[in-house]
């Protein structure tokens, strides 16, 4: 495969071993593979830590299709994972345009390379925007939940087993006004207040006969346990201490706090890679337009950047599986 060995204008400066390239690959490409391998191990470290925590808290780990159930312009419609499937599709497609750009580079077709690189950058930007939207929904939350004394999350269901939002439970809100700096000379910040107090929820729950609660414990078949009406009332009145809406680093309405921590960290770290990829692709895009690689006589740079971009896609395939599917 001679196509993998090309002159990049750096001969004699890098390998110093004469004309014979180790593994028949150019210096830059080998270094990219080194980087990709080490970065792959970094990501596996994160995902392995995620798996460790998930097995440790297997009872209270959230179910992904209850967490990620939004789709743009479909308000209030339960759309489990549709959006993340679309995101995955977009990223895979931008990988395809990248490999088409590399292919056009082999043929020295400058305009084709420009066109495909442009599509790749656009795909990357759409993915980043989608991820921001996904974070927004995750942080905002959908149904809300209640935290117990021991820091576990209990969620509300009706008799058919559908989730019920806090706003459908509480009959009124007695939540106080949040204070800001204008409230006093020495005052700086207030905690973020939920829309309802825990007493609002307890009162509302007591009046609505069709409500049940689900606790973070699994039955022998692996389904979360739903308490009957008496147990629900009992648990709520003795153990519930706080209303939780959405997610932050301390607690989230979906389940164990670690879930949100890992979600923010791993998808954030991946998003950072996508961002870097878009940045590098843009630089290369302008280089192609300026004719840098045309003059050099080789589009190998597009190939090396392409390797990185495909790697980002590869990581997403795994993140997608372990956060959204498994």
């Amino acid at each position: 495969m001679e196509a993998t060995v090309v002159k990049t204008g750096t001969e004699g400066k890098t390998w110093g071993g004469g004309d014979h390239s180790p593994l028949k690959a150019s210096y830059g490409k080998l270094m990219m593979w080194f980087f990709i391998l080490s970065d792959a191990l970094t990501f596996s470290g994160f995902l392995a830590a995620y798996g460790f925590s998930r097995y440790k808290f297997i009872d209270s780990w959230p179910v992904a299709d209850e967490v990620f159930n939004h789709f743009p312009f479909l308000h209030g419609v339960d759309a489990p994972m549709y959006y993340v499937a679309l995101m995955t599709f977009i990223l895979i497609f931008s990988s395809v345009t990248m490999v088409l750009a590399v292919n056009a580079g082999h043929q020295m077709k400058k305009n084709k390379v420009i066109f495909y690189l442009f599509l790749t950058v656009i795909g990357g930007l759409i993915f980043l925007g989608s991820q921001a939207w996904e974070w927004k929904n995750f942080i905002q939350g959908t149904y809300g939940a209640v935290e117990t004394k021991s820091g576990r999350i209990i969620q509300f269901l009706d008799t058919e087993g559908n989730r019920v939002a806090l706003s459908d439970i509480a009959t009124e809100s007695t939540q106080r006004q949040a204070h800001d700096r204008s409230s006093g000379i020495w005052f700086s910040t207030d905690e973020t207040l939920a829309a309802y107090t825990i007493d609002d929820i307890k009162q509302g729950f007591a009046t609505k006969e069709n409500l049940r609660i689900r606790i973070p414990k699994l039955d022998e078949k692996g389904h979360p346990i739903i308490l009957n009406r008496e147990q629900s009332l009992q648990t709520l009145s003795t153990d519930a201490i706080r209303v939780v809406e959405g997610a932050n680093m301390y607690r989230n309405e979906y389940g164990t706090p670690l879930f949100a921590n890992f979600f923010f960290f791993i998808t954030g770290f991946h998003g950072f890679h996508v961002f870097t990829g878009v940045l590098i692709n843009t630089i290369i895009f302008f280089n192609v337009i300026l004719g840098t690689y045309e003059r050099r006589g080789s589009y190998e740079m597009v190939e090396k950047v392409g390797l990185y971009w495909h790697f980002v896609d590869l990581v997403w395939v795994f993140v997608f599986t372990f956060f959204y599917l498994v």
Binding site: S44, K149, V317
Partner: protein, 119 residues
């Protein structure tokens, strides 16, 4: 750079074929994830649900195609291929084995009552 037009034609075809395959696999995963067939959810092999085995295997298939076709691993020398793939596969398997078994063990310790939750 001794590529002729015909081989480029076929490599473009292969790219679209792989894209089609990846799309089909992803769609299959999402559909399975939404309907969650009861049999696959309630039966386990090696502490992992059947459904999750399917997801992981399909993911590995996708990873294979991305690496081999898109990253052009199939065109590299055997030495480069093995240096990258075997290293990653070995280290990741090792790490996963150690951490997942340990996580499950801690879960069992919690469940056995050394730690009690307040309900």
């Amino acid at each position: 750079m001794a590529h002729d037009a015909a081989s480029h034609e076929s490599s473009v075809k292969r790219i679209w074929y792989v894209f089609f395959l990846l799309t089909v696999l992803t769609t299959a995963e999402v559909i399975l994830g939404i309907i969650k067939p009861t049999f696959l959810v309630e039966h386990k092999f090696l502490a992992l649900k059947f459904l999750n085995w399917i997801f992981i295997i399909l993911t590995l298939v996708k990873a294979y195609f991305i690496t081999w076709a898109f990253m052009h691993m199939e065109g590299e020398t055997k030495g480069l291929r093995r240096a990258v793939v075997w290293t990653a596969v070995f280290l990741i398997c090792y790490l996963m084995f150690v951490l997942l078994v340990e996580g499950d063990y801690i879960h069992e310790v919690y469940k056995a009552g050394y730690v009690k939750y307040n309900f």
